[in-house]
Amino acid sequence: MGVMRILDSSGDTKVLWEVDDDEALARAASLFDELSTEGKLAFERKGSQTETSRIREFDPDAEEIIWVRPIQGG
């Protein structure tokens, strides 16, 4: 099962999918595109807890994708 965590006021909103669930997979892929269009940035967590890398396309096999916001000077 894969999970997308989208940082928001609730902490994070989770979106789950299974690779063999076409409907859930399509929803997750569509959401990925939508968030990318909004300018948010996706990171896939791999292997170790701390290993994350930026991704630009939805990976159905990803275990965890964390969405963050663009940064700016404060």
């Binding site: 006021s9 902490g11 994070d12 701390t50 994350t52 963050v68 940064i71 000077g73």
Partner: protein, 204 residues
């Protein structure tokens, strides 16, 4: 009656807490004791004017009572309340902070986690030094050559995020693209009180 959820020890000895329940549910307060320093007052000024109700006063009286005899200098009573967040930030509820804390800690390595739990801040290595996360609007950038800068970088619309989500956001950005981080940062020499300069930050 409302209760208070501690969120963050502020530099200069303040405590950022969130009101849970009551008329002021979701509002943030900075508690300042008689020993609190000027930096905490700066933080309070950032949060806005003070305005509290009787339910919070009653809770603070309980907090004060609980802390008597404790070595931890937490809250000294309603007279020390400095500020509250504007209503736009009411979404920072205790469950959201718990979720954000869990995610952040899951992303830290062993040394970072120990530092975070001990000091409320942790260092992220970058090619020419480290950036310390944990003090909002005042991120300490230590270059290997000894120069230090205070950086101000935030996620967009960061006021709607729980504080620990802000650290998660900055952590992932720093790890993946430090050049972007230093390009957008406003900065000044660490410890100075000069105006912030627009990025890019001078690199070592």
């Amino acid at each position: 009656m409302a209760s208070l959820q501690p969120l963050e020890e502020l530099p200069g000895s303040g405590l950022l807490v969130e009101v849970v329940g009551g008329d002021h549910d979701g509002e943030l307060l900075v508690l300042v004791s008689e020993r609190r320093g000027s930096r905490c007052r700066q933080a309070a000024d950032l949060l806005g004017p003070c305005e509290i109700g009787d339910d919070v006063r009653a809770t603070l009286a309980l907090v004060e009572s609980d802390c008597r005899g404790s070595s931890r200098d937490v809250a000294r009573g309603p007279g020390r309340i400095r500020a509250r967040r504007p209503s736009a930030t009411r979404a920072r509820s205790a469950p959201s902070q718990t979720a954000a804390r869990w995610l952040l800690e899951s992303l830290l390595d062993e040394a970072q986690l120990a530092s975070w739990r001990d000091r409320g801040r942790f260092e992220v290595p970058v090619p020419d030094g480290t950036v310390e996360l944990g003090e909002l609007y005042n991120l300490r950038y230590r270059r290997h050559d000894g120069r230090e800068f205070a950086l101000c970088v935030v996620p967009s619309s960061h006021a709607s995020l729980p504080l620990d989500d802000i650290w998660t956001n900055l952590l992932l950005m720093l790890r993946s693209d430090p050049e972007r981080f230093f390009a957008v940062a406003n900065y000044r020499e660490y410890g100075s009180f000069g105006a912030l300069l627009p990025g890019p930050v001078p690199r070592g």
